[in-house]
Symmetry: C2
Amino acid sequence: MEEKIKQLRDILAEISDLGYTAALLGWDQQTYMPRGGAEARGNQLALLERLVHERTTSPGLGKLLEDLKPIVSGLDPDSDDARLVKVTARGYDKAVRVPTRHVVEFSQATTLGQQAWVEARSKSDFSIFRPHLEKIVALRQEYASFFPNFDHPYDALLDDFEPNMKTADVKTIFDGLRPRQVELIKAISGKPQVDDSFLRQPFDEKKQLDFGVEIISRFGFDWKRGRQDKAPHPFTTSFSINDVRITTRVAPDFLNSMLFGTMHECGHALYGMGPAPELERTGLEGGASLAVHESQSRLWENLVGRSFPFWQYFYPRLQETFPQLAGIPLEKFYKGINKVQPSLIRVEADEATYNLHIMLRLEMEIALIEGKVAARDMPDLWNARMQEYLGVTPSDDAKGVLQDMHWSGGAIGYFSTYALGNLISAQLWEKINQEIPDLVEQIRQGKFEALLGWLREKIHRHGAKFEPQELVQKVTGSKIDPAPYLGYLNKKYSEIYDL
Amino acid sequence: MEEKIKQLRDILAEISDLGYTAALLGWDQQTYMPRGGAEARGNQLALLERLVHERTTSPGLGKLLEDLKPIVSGLDPDSDDARLVKVTARGYDKAVRVPTRHVVEFSQATTLGQQAWVEARSKSDFSIFRPHLEKIVALRQEYASFFPNFDHPYDALLDDFEPNMKTADVKTIFDGLRPRQVELIKAISGKPQVDDSFLRQPFDEKKQLDFGVEIISRFGFDWKRGRQDKAPHPFTTSFSINDVRITTRVAPDFLNSMLFGTMHECGHALYGMGPAPELERTGLEGGASLAVHESQSRLWENLVGRSFPFWQYFYPRLQETFPQLAGIPLEKFYKGINKVQPSLIRVEADEATYNLHIMLRLEMEIALIEGKVAARDMPDLWNARMQEYLGVTPSDDAKGVLQDMHWSGGAIGYFSTYALGNLISAQLWEKINQEIPDLVEQIRQGKFEALLGWLREKIHRHGAKFEPQELVQKVTGSKIDPAPYLGYLNKKYSEIYDL
């Protein structure tokens, strides 16, 4: 067995090294690459993807996994080796069902799709993107057809981002969530609006960046094992547990972009830096799922970073950095950064309305994959739903159906993980506060070691060993559940809006 | 034939993409990587090297080349296809003689060697590096033994950097050069020394960098197809003809480091950006050799950047940027940047003494490979030769035998290309001035288009199609010849030192 596990680890180390190398190509593309490098970069990325695909579907790997399955069945099912075989076999079994022809076609369609989307959005002309969306949806339907054993075709897509999560489960969760979030937003809209105009004035860019660095250093971002750069669309990426990179952006006239974007990406990065060293180069050193990853970023961004105790510590420092805030009391600042206002753009949405953006996309995605709506109907459907859920209608498709790049890149099946991440973050938050009773006081003093330690111990160190529902159950005692998040939102906004 | 050439180009494109990807891993390692990433980066680079080696020695490639050789023999021998087969076959024939076991052993020895060298240099303790140098020399001797057909074992090493150049040729060239350079230095040392103290005072770092950017933008550095970053040891690297990156460093109290370092790397970069687009991803889009590459960097750094007309244009701008130079007349500045002073460190050497540093290393390398001296004798030998050639003796080994990293990385066979590059640069300069009679006047006006155009046409666009001697002959009418460089040095320093 030792010999075969070693063989497996060697194969996985090579796949991992190739994946990390591809990630560096991607990081550079979005941070420093001169635009002349784009075509060559496409070739380099395509090659790395092919090399990874060849290795993740090689018959040698399949044989090794078959040999190992009975051997590890005698082990503790939560041991690294047992999980390594289980998780690797899971990925292998899915990957080998997909013909290489499909992989190549999908890669080409999404490369073209992304180019078309950039142009379509800049011209706010959906017709430029429509044929590409049609092609991408057809390919995603074909992908689903490779997995006839799922209950619903959308399951196969969701499952790639959220292992073992079912469309029906997500629907049930969202059905419990939607009416109560809509109700909350209605209640808020009946109250006087808070003022956040002071957040929208010139703030020196260098000082903004330095302030973000101060915050995430306190959170525990390890600068020996990571760095931060600027990028148009913030993201986090890893080339090792010991080389985790975040990006941020700075709006010269609006404080929130840098502030909450930086905390958000730091949350992802702390997860990326946290897995047990033994998991490095096995494929298990990533996160459990996108939703669990998002639970970490949202926890630091919102549960911590948009909380009152957090700003009790940091607001005096912020005022020192930006004297133009001297006349704004802490209470007013706190309300300002938590202003609820139904808006068109997901990435700028507040906590109360954010999930509705996600639900809208999920419904549209399911309808597309089921074939119940066509790509050409998407703009009208989008606008109708925005009006229904949020009471706003985009003035053009750039601010509507074309706002996110996900579909152009083929990431259909991805969106619900954002909302699930919000829910998990509140479940974890309840549990953490039970187990660290003075957490609020610690945050008020700018101390985050115990919080990070808890997350490391309960979530981070396991990497991808457990499926998301399994992990949430293990840590909180229940599966993904909207109640804690709803409770959190209601309490928070009752105070802010005097509901 | 078309089909087989296409097959060859497909293989070469993949090798090229892998090579470029490895280059990005290296660039990041030296610019932005947090130190925690070092171990993982080592794994990623080793994997990429292995993938490249597998492909450059694959029997499929060998068969294809055998099939193609008779086919392309009917073509114009200077056509892209004929050269592609010739150059690729040349690399293949060398690579397949080297057992994979040797490649792995050499890679491990040089990784350890570089680590040991860093420590040895920091402690100025040669004994730390000695066993590694012994191992590396033994491996280089073994490498030479795989090529019994060369006249001299050192030929096999030199040939990797300088295709088809013979040790005997280099010796002949250097034998003609050495006495005349020594004579020149002696003559200079009998004259009053020029003053360069004004170059050694505080200069704002940002302003230094901006000034360097202004210069190389005028040279023709294409910022859409390249960028500049800071690195401890400046270098140039490429991920495509359209993504060529340079690095520079800034000394806060000495102007020369940034100034001439930036122009030097820009010279490499202009060559990297210059090959014909059809050569992209064939392996022919690199330079003809290290010496030809160095001829480009030294031409822009010295023939242009240390010339009087150049500073007639740029010195008023430099004085504007750094008002502390206001009282220094142009003539005095020009003499200062061209001060000749025998010194211990190659990378800081002036034009008159630089080549002597190279000759010293070449002689020591040849003696090592011939087995005539042992690694343990190197410090004493180094110091004796420094005294003999330059009249100076290092106070410790860090400033002596341990100053360069080349040997620790296994790059034995490399040094002479620096001096050959100087010689070629002067040969080209003679030719350019014949063909662009008003070149000096153009430089005086800060115009470099015609110069860059000439280099593009005569040198850059050919990439690696021609061997270095072949290319120099084609362009200048003679092989590598020290006379023009000696003429250039004598004329320049006769004026500066009133010889």
